[in-house]
Symmetry: C2
Subunit: 337 residues, 2 copies
């Protein structure tokens, strides 16, 4: 800044005033401004935002933490967040937690330390008040999360009622698909989506007076194709393959379909399969995957809009916004004729 | 910091010395240190790294810019970079350029401003000396890039010889597959991978004495499934479908296969297809995709290792490191019998 002042022939405070034009209270002539800006250009001077951040408290940067960079569901969320952010002239930095608790906590520490202006998270484990409060109580920056299970009064929440979605999809398999032996491929209970979605499945069976058979259920999935393949291997080995499967997400559903086919089962004739998410791969696999489509673009837009509303109006009341879903019928299921 | 000093009953400089233990020159007793750390714990005091960054010049943060978050090739690169970074106790922030020049430039501005300790980029457009120098000349932080076409002496480069890879794959289609009418699906010339890979295809045809037919080539792809589908539509409409296709990347190759099947062509009997990358979807599509596998884990590890070597030893000579590739034969091509 000193060099700029010298070259422009003005004082250092004048350079500072011109560069931080938001806070100008002293009048500075256009000619002086021009001289300073010319000197800045000549010297390639770059305002040090780390120093500037200490004064203005604005970084023009938001951060989003997603759970799995290889899951297409998150790509559309990120794209939608980027689109909103660019309208506000903000850059988005992404962090990938890989569903790991330690990574989620490390992310929070980093974003608090780096002074970003807002945070969007899809937390898998960091969801209790006790876990979140150490971060939230230390900062004024807004946090917006995806997930109704997140328990802290200071966050805005966007959520999808996935229990209801799975409940409805199971009823659809029963009534439209004509299935009675319906199995389930899920994830362990410590993953929040696990118990919720499983409840939707159980409730639909109960209300329809259908038997629940633990041998048709696999709850050790990990959201990946490999997890879906392992589930099928287990069901096949124990000789208890149901005639239809509700699978907790699309990547596992696709892994399940490919594994079924390798073992000689026909989909949907021998086993019908329903997934959850509607990721791009759902229309690559054959048969194409019937799935509960979330609306990741709507989710991402809601997340980003909620965040920027809080960035611009910090006192906005915290909100819970429900996002839509719908069953998309493709070829991995068949209707009773 | 004032509150911590009060609670611990010590002076503010003492608190500062304990917290910045790297630079302790004055002796401080263990008992005092303990008292300060207890006070820090009680008050939930968080060192402001924006302020600390001004002193230590270390953020424990690196940034990586990828070209397309929905392309699986980049996911494995990011995972490998994260693995190396976590060994060094660094966090990785990701930026998604969507192949857009403005986004690439904006990324550079943001990372220079935010004081990250190192940058990894997969630049698509920001590759000339004139474009890169305004950023690189202003900073001491190391830049490591993927791509041999990047023209700046201050960057380390990891690259794959994709011209040679396509050349060899084309020869393989000719000699092992027995094909003579081989077409090409690429991207426009302003995308650096475009001319390079196209040259590999042309050279193999020439050396084999085979005809080059512009009507079999499509160069308006955009790396996406939709781009591959559009190429097939064009070739079909003009009535010039070749018997084999080299496709510049896997996502377009998969779009091409699905579009061919919808139009009634059999793959590989009517049209053989080879892709490039070996993304996870290559084994979801049926027939499974024959492709030139890059080794994204090796690429990511090389990128990160080169970066941390420069972070820790800034005077390390800049390097060009070639990464491997290999043809993986699956079902979308067939061998001459």
């Amino acid at each position: 800044m000193n060099d700029v002042a010298k070259l422009a022939g003005v004082s250092q405070p004048t350079v500072s005033r011109v560069l931080n034009s938001d806070s100008i209270s002293v009048h500075i002539s256009d000619e002086t401004k021009e001289r300073v800006m010319d000197a800045v250009k000549t010297l390639g001077y770059r305002t040090n935002v780390m120093a500037r951040g200490l004064r203005t408290q604005r970084s023009q940067l938001i951060a989003i933490m997603i759970a799995d960079i290889s899951n297409g569901f998150y790509h559309l969320i990120v794209r939608a967040v980027q689109d909103v952010a660019r309208e506000h002239n903000y850059e988005v930095l992404i962090s990938n937690s890989d569903h790991v608790y330690e990574n989620e906590k490390h992310f929070c520490e980093v974003v608090l330390d780096r002074g970003v202006d807002g945070v969007i998270m899809v937390p898998i484990h960091l969801i209790s008040y006790d876990d979140l409060d150490p971060y939230l109580s230390q900062t004024d920056i807004p946090f917006v999360v995806l997930g109704q299970h997140v328990d802290h009064p200071e966050v805005d929440k966007i959520f999808v009622d996935d229990e209801k979605a799975i409940y409805e999809a199971t009823l659809w398999l029963i009534h439209k698909g004509g299935h009675q032996n319906i199995g389930y491929v899920g994830v362990p209970d410590f993953q929040p989506a696990g118990p919720r979605r499983f409840r939707g499945y159980r409730r639909a069976l109960e209300e329809s007076g259908l038997p629940f058979n633990p041998a048709w259920c696999y709850s050790e999935g990990d959201f990946t194709r490999e997890g879906g393949a392992k589930a099928i291997k287990r069901l096949h080995e124990t000789g208890t393959m149901p005639e239809a499967l509700i699978v907790l997400n699309d990547l596992m559903a696709i892994g399940a379909i490919l594994a079924l086919q390798e073992l000689g089962y026909n989909v949907p004739e021998d086993v019908a399969v329903i997934g959850f998410d509607d990721i791009p791969e759902a229309t690559i696999v054959r048969p194409k995957l019937t799935t509960i489509a979330q609306n990741p673009r709507e989710i991402g837009t809601n997340l980003a809009n909620a965040l920027f509303q809080r960035i611009e109006h910090p006192r906005t009341t915290r909100r819970n916004i429900e996002s839509s879903y719908k069953l998309i019928e493709r070829d991995s299921t068949r209707r009773k004729t």
